[in-house]
């Protein structure tokens, strides 16, 4: 349970698809002019991530990973098909999006009306493939965790796009230097939102429970800062913001 809460918190806040990894930026910028369409696209992303990540998890663990094929025959133990993962994942995503579109059209016409035009767009949204690749990289141990990760990162993406759409609706009425109008100011706003979301970094439910009577958070941020100096890797960088903002 603790693991699940952790995965949820991380995927929604501290490792938000948009603000930490910039995944799905294209549709994020293109479809965030009004809140209504942003909600539609966001919901579609939650839905598709929630379906494709567990399916790709099954594919990864029962077909692609080294030794994953032993359920067919023990002699396949040293078979490693992981070089095929890109093409398999994208094929699964494209076909699931197609399938979901047809199923939704048939069984839930109202939902189709709301999501309809966004579904085909989603096959080429970086966040969907990104979800599958992060799932592969982080090696979630059960399908439950993978599903949780998929849905949670969808929720993170949803929050981000709805928030920026709301801001853009208001920003129309403000005085912005002409060259910054539209795209420029959206980038800067997203950057500012990213800083806000970074304050969630270090959010770790399990450790907070274990160390409730332990150290101050300051000590961890200092070690994080030391690591940053040698590495410019996103994951270690995240911890640095604590020392940066204080």
């Amino acid at each position: 349970m603790v693991d699940h809460i952790n995965i949820f918190l991380k995927a929604v806040f501290s490792e938000n698809m948009i603000f930490a990894y910039f995944l799905g930026m294209c549709s994020y910028l293109a479809v965030s002019k009004t809140v209504k369409t942003a909600v539609g696209l966001g919901a579609a992303v939650i839905f598709v991530l929630g379906v494709t990540v567990p399916v790709n998890w099954l594919l990864e663990n029962y077909v692609l990973k080294e030794g994953a094929l032993t359920w067919i025959d023990p002699s396949y133990a040293d078979m490693d098909l992981s070089f095929l993962s890109f093409i398999m994942f994208i094929a699964v995503i494209a076909s699931i999006v197609q399938l979901v579109e047809m199923l939704v059209e048939k069984f839930a016409p109202a939902l189709y009306g709301a999501l309809g035009i966004f579904l085909p767009l989603i096959a080429v949204n970086c966040s969907i493939l990104g979800g599958a690749l992060f799932m592969q990289e982080r090696q979630y141990s059960t399908i439950g965790e993978a599903t949780n990760f998929g849905i949670s990162s969808g929720i993170g993406w949803f929050l981000a796009i709805v928030a920026i759409a709301a801001i853009r609706e208001k920003i129309k009425y403000s005085h912005i230097p002409a060259p910054m109008r539209g795209l420029g100011i959206t980038f800067v706003t997203t950057g500012l939102m990213g800083i806000a979301f970074m304050s969630f970094s270090g959010l770790n439910y399990a450790e907070a429970e274990k160390e409730s009577c332990g150290d101050e958070p300051g000590t961890t941020s200092e070690t994080g800062a030391v690591e940053v100096e040698s590495e410019s890797d996103e994951t270690t960088m995240v911890y640095d913001i604590n020392s940066e903002e204080n």
């Binding site: 603000f19 930026m25 070089f83 890109f86 080429v124 970086c126 980038f187 410019s232 640095d240």
Partner: protein
Amino acid sequence: MSEKVKAPKEPLFSKKNKRLVVEPLDDNNPVTIQVLGICSALAITVSIEQALVMTGSVLFVLGAGNMIISMLRNLIPSRIRIIVQLVVVASLVIIVNEVLKAFMPDVAEKLSVFVGLIITNCIIMGRFEAFAMANKPWPSLLDAIGNTVGYGVILVLVSVFREIFGSGKFFGMTLFGDRIEGTGAYSVGYMDNNFIILAPFALFAVGIIIWIQRARNTKLIEEH
């Protein structure tokens, strides 16, 4: 392939073809004007090396992909074209990924999932849809080169700035002395701005580039 009518032969570098290469550098830049390929442009611009490797990979994938799609354009049924395009890109990206893993393992490690995400880089699908599906292979190749260079210019600009001021390096060489031992500029109190290597700064940097570009070239300004 199936061109029945012989058009008057066009020189390889006609005016029209040159425009294909030059236009995406500024007026029709894929990143700042068409808003494509932002994901990778922002995420991997922490160091110049990564930016160049990414540009090279995109150049290969987009160049080869544009030509393949252009050659197949009359054979692809339009209903399943997205899947055909995805399969072509995915195969090319697998090649890139294996090559990077074999010859540049440390860069490949840093780029992590972003090599795979070239598949969904909107520039690639965008160029396939908008250009390669309707044009011959040679203009498609030029279009691919132009767009990749336009993309690469933004990547390199952002990454030069982020690497110099964020980690005090240029192409991996230290510029201002040793940070940990406090030599060079660090001994007189110079500090690297750690904020610059964090994710949000990339957004500001691209925002500023857009600002400068549109201030210079006022016809690009949007009406809200």
